[in-house]
Symmetry: C2
Subunit: 105 residues, 2 copies
DNA sequence: GCAAAATATTCCTTGACTGGAATATTCCTA
DNA sequence: TAGGAATATTCCAGTCAAGGAATATTTTGC
């Protein structure tokens, strides 16, 4: 699993940007406006998200539309696979426990 | 989604600790040894993982066994749900595209 | 209670990150 | 081609995080 993805999402404004872009691609100006950021701050955060591969840019007239890229999140999803097994095992044990309870009563 | 989880996992050593603890709970000393960390560094990282809820401690004799907690990762899993929809939609479109190709030939 | 093992904390220094302000760049349109 | 809108970059100051070294704390067993 790539640490850069976590690092990019570890900043509240950047996480907010990603969640915002889930709805639809947006130009810098609107992102800044919706999140109450100054435009330079928005650009800087988008740069980092871009370097982490979490977004991609599509120029449109004199604006730049930023759009979510699924790959890093898919990687996260795959990474979580191993951990899902862990907590499902715990769930199984809980089921066993509840079954035992039922048998005893 | 809680930024603290990402923040905790954004440090390579801490990510390594989490991945190490997936196999089995371990005392500080062994964690430090397996990851080539000084003991104080290991303790400091474990403190942060603990504050983020990613691990829990169980004292055993004069050692402290650190163990993975699934909750934050489950939260991540739930958070990813929204994004899964996104990339599955893209996959669907890919399927449509491939179907079209087949019909044409 | 004391020594030793295991772990936690503190202090210090250094490097990285963030926001603000100013400025530069890019690209469209008239 | 000049002006203006949209965006990117730079510079600066303040803050925060990480590692190293030293030290403190806790717990056990004798």
């Amino acid at each position: 699993m790539n640490v850069q993805t976590f690092s990019a999402l570890a900043e509240p404004h950047r996480l907010a940007i990603v969640e915002l872009l889930l709805d639809e691609p947006l130009p810098v100006g609107e992102i800044a406006e919706k999140l109450n950021l100054n435009q330079p701050q928005a650009s800087k955060h988008l740069r980092i998200l871009n370097e982490a591969g979490l977004v991609e840019v599509h120029p449109l007239a004199n604006r730049r539309i930023y759009k979510l890229r699924p790959e890093p999140l898919q990687e996260m999803d795959m990474w979580l696979d191993s951990y899902r097994r862990m907590w499902e095992m715990r769930m199984d044990r809980l089921e066993d426990y509840l079954n035992d309870l039922q048998k005893k009563n």
